[in-house]
């Protein structure tokens, strides 16, 4: 049964991968014949993307459950990583979908992204693929809950780790989430598994001196009680 679940998720992902490629191609063909881009195709592409993302999280959590989640820790240029991240976020925000379809209607919210000058390393060793997923999820959440702005920063930690910090100026996390519980409340506000995923990915990062990564959730975003998500990598 276990093997079947993994295989099924995997099959679905492969199909989505092919679908994504052909949807982009269809968009290009459409653009060649029409002055206006196809709204329907854009929506279909965005949905295929969302589905793929959900599959990745599902697969990772499933793998963590049966002990086969593997991190690929390699060096990455932090600037390139942030550029990729913002690029992907912008690509998914550029498609405006009605909220009930899982889209982001409040594309007007400003994101301020910056690397603190106190971060001296250009390069960090981590699993860029999984960390990017966790951060994108957190950014999308911040955009959904923030009122006017979202701040995304990279900061140094006193113990030599780095901190990815995402704050919004919304109402903050519900108490249950701050206590680390998985509640139904959480599920109604989007992908409830996103935070579990992020916590898992952070904790799996470690060094030979025994430091581990971690997740910190607080309600001090913009000093107005907004949600503040921090993913710390050793």
């Amino acid at each position: 049964m276990d093997a079947l679940v993994a295989a099924a998720i995997h099959d679905a992902k492969s199909t989505l991968s092919a679908l994504g490629v052909w949807l982009s191609e269809a968009q290009r063909e459409f653009a060649a014949q029409s002055a206006k881009p196809s709204q329907a195709l854009a929506r279909a592409t965005a949905m295929a993307d969302t589905l793929s993302r959900q599959m990745v999280e599902l697969l990772a959590l499933y793998r963590a459950g049966n002990g086969s989640l593997r991190l690929a820790v390699e060096d990455h240029h932090l600037r390139d990583f942030l550029a990729d991240l913002m690029g992907e976020l912008a690509a998914s925000r550029s498609v405006t979908l009605p909220e009930e379809e899982g889209g982001e209607t409040r594309a007007a919210i400003a994101i301020h992204a910056n690397i603190a000058t106190t971060v001296t390393a250009d390069i960090w060793a981590f699993d860029a693929y999984l960390v990017k997923f966790a951060l994108l999820d957190a950014l999308r959440n911040a955009l959904r809950h923030g009122k006017r702005q979202v701040r995304f920063s990279l900061l140094p930690e006193p113990d030599g780790s780095i901190r990815f910090s995402i704050e919004d100026d919304g109402d903050g996390y519900p108490d249950a989430i701050l206590r680390g519980e998985e509640t139904t409340e959480m599920r109604t506000s989007g992908s409830g598994l996103g935070l579990s995923f992020a916590r898992l990915i952070a904790a799996r990062h470690a060094t030979t001196s025994g430091r581990h990564g971690r997740l910190e959730l607080t309600n001090d975003g913009f000093d107005t009680g907004g949600a503040h998500f921090s993913l710390i990598l050793p």
């Binding site: 995997h10 092919a18 991190l71 390699e74 390139d80 390393a121 693929y129 030979t208």
Partner: protein, 538 residues
């Protein structure tokens, strides 16, 4: 960077995927794109053309994967370091590619990806290759690692965004050129700034090079706790443990196999299990390897021979003989195949206590050896069969000829030691290799002495005779070439001597391009050869 004048080779076994990626490459600006359906086609194209970029799918069908392909072409130096390698993978392949040990792709891209992401990654890879060009130039087939090191220094002084990549390469170069203390210092500098697995493993390798095996082992074990999927750490640890604790080394390979179940690693496990006399584990490993590579590019006589031996050692004579018969179905007929089959079969019969059948098969193998030149693996298999059949002297004669010819090839020397080990005659093996080595050194020294005392003619006669007998011995070829060049120089330029010297130098380049004396000899040739002498490409 403009991608329009860049050329790419796209490798994928699925036509639809090839078409889809081809479209995306074209959107990224790369129009000059050739395609290959499998490893064989890709290798054919790589031997003929140079590409700026290889885009390869991880899953290549027929039991082969992109990682195997990358390792093969890097090891055979078919793929210059200056060519970028982008691996495209699904979720499963990603876990193996991204933790790949010695030969890692420049980047990998997970399906699904957008044309924009592909384009951005290609840009990054090609810019990186451009920036490190000065280093890579000296890392090819005929490169000079010390020049590569010097180029690293220059780049590090320039403080570009590539400093860390250069440091990483520099560490590897320092280790490769035996400068382990400097390597250790470099890794410590990197690790002081931040934690990263490659520097930890590099540091462990530097410890090994300095003879501090215990410190290396301790560090590698820590690395595996922090980075449980970093295959390079498993490989290094397994190598290290092979010396002190082979059964523990086998366990380490088993662990690595769980993370990345590649056929190559299965073979490695089989080899270690055979060495540890864990024959049933060896049988399992080779059975899977043989099954997976049935039609693949990497199928090899060696796997079947090892499978047969694993079975025979457990007393499974029937299964062992079946493995030998299977070879006829999966390989093209050749003297090498027939000789290998006969030699393995002979050993199976010896093991099963049937000396007559063993002798009959052995006679067949020896006959084939007389009729045609066989490769080293087959020749050593015949020697092994001789030992098994109680013909130790014949075995040693055969091995001696191989040892003389391949003196400089450490891998073949290891294979010879392993033949003696299987025959439970390790001490005799050490003795034989030692004697052979001394004999070859003496021969070379005598010739050099003759040459120095002015008896060039005698030296040349001696070396030419030796060079024609041991065609894979680069040292002898180089000495023969040098004596011929000296004579031409002394007696006035002589095209006959120079042409002959050219032939020996070409042979040395072919057999051992990295021989330390080769560069000097080549330079001497270029100095002496007039314009109409054959050109020496090196």
């Amino acid at each position: 960077m403009d991608l329009r004048n860049k050329s790419a080779l796209l490798i994928d076994d699925i036509p639809e995927m090839r078409t889809a990626v081809r479209v995306q490459l074209s959107n990224a600006g790369i129009e000059r794109c050739e395609q290959a359906r499998n490893i064989k086609e890709a290798i054919d194209k790589l031997s003929l053309n140079r590409y700026d970029l290889i885009v390869c799918d991880y899953n290549l069908g027929q039991g082969a994967d992109g990682q195997q392909f990358l390792e093969l072409v890097r090891r055979k130096k078919l793929l210059p370091m200056s060519t970028g390698f982008l691996m495209i993978t699904g979720e499963t392949g990603y876990q193996q590619v991204s933790t790949a040990a010695e030969y890692a792709p420049d980047d990998y891209l997970l399906k699904p990806f957008t044309a924009e992401l592909l384009s951005a990654r290609l840009q990054r890879i090609l810019e990186n290759k451009e920036a490190l060009k000065a280093v890579y130039r000296h890392m090819g087939a005929n490169g000079d690692l010390n020049k590569a090191l010097a180029a690293c220094e220059v780049l590090i002084d320039e403080k570009t965004r590539y400093t860390m990549e250069v440091m990483r390469i520099k560490g590897e170069l320092l280790l490769a050129t035996g400068k382990s203390a400097e390597a250790l210092a470099l890794y410590d500098v990197v690790l002081k700034q931040r934690a990263t697995p490659w520097a930890e493993v590099g540091k462990a390798l530097a410890y090994v090079a300095q003879g501090e095996d215990e410190a290396a082992q301790q560090l590698l074990n820590q690395v595996l706790v922090a980075y449980p999927n970093y295959l390079a750490a498993y490989d290094s640890l397994a190598n290290l443990m092979m010396k002190s604790d082979p059964p523990a080394a086998q366990k380490v390979v088993e662990q690595a196999l769980k993370i990345a179940p590649s056929t190559q690693r299965l073979r490695e496990l089989g080899t270690i299990a055979l060495n540890n006399k864990d024959f049933s584990r060896a049988e399992d490993a080779y059975r899977v390897a043989v099954e997976r590579d049935r039609s693949g590019f990497f199928k090899s006589h060696d796997d079947y021979a090892a499978l047969a031996r694993s079975c025979a050692e457990q007393g499974k004579t029937k299964e062992a003989l079946t493995a030998v018969k299977e070879m006829s179905r999966h390989f093209t007929r050749s003297p090498e195949l027939a000789a290998r089959q006969a030699a393995v079969e002979s050993q199976i019969h010896s093991r099963a206590g049937d000396p007559e059948a063993a002798a009959a098969a052995l006679i067949q193998a020896l006959g084939l050896r007389r009729e045609s030149g066989l490769d080293v693996a087959t020749t050593l298999e015949i020697a092994q069969a001789c030992f098994a059949a109680g013909k130790a002297e014949e075995a040693k004669q055969i091995i001696e000829a191989v040892a003389e010819d391949h003196q400089e090839n450490d891998k073949i020397m290891d294979q010879i030691r392993s033949v003696f080990k299987v025959a439970e005659r390790e001490d005799e093996g050490v003795q034989l290799l030692d004697n052979t080595y001394k004999r070859m050194v003496r021969l070379n020294n005598e010739a050099v002495t003759l040459a120095k005392s002015g008896e060039l003619e005698k030296a040349i006669a001696m070396l030419e005779q030796a060079a024609d007998r041991w065609q894979n011995n680069a040292q002898i070829s180089i000495n023969a070439a040098q004596a011929l060049m000296m004579r031409s120089h002394k007696e006035g330029t002589d095209m006959i001597f120079l042409t002959q010297a050219h032939r020996y130098l070409m042979r040395a380049i072919r057999t051992n391009a990295e021989h330390p004396k080769l560069q000097g000899a080549v330079e001497m040739y270029r100095r002496l050869a007039p314009a109409d002498a054959p050109l020496l490409e090196f």
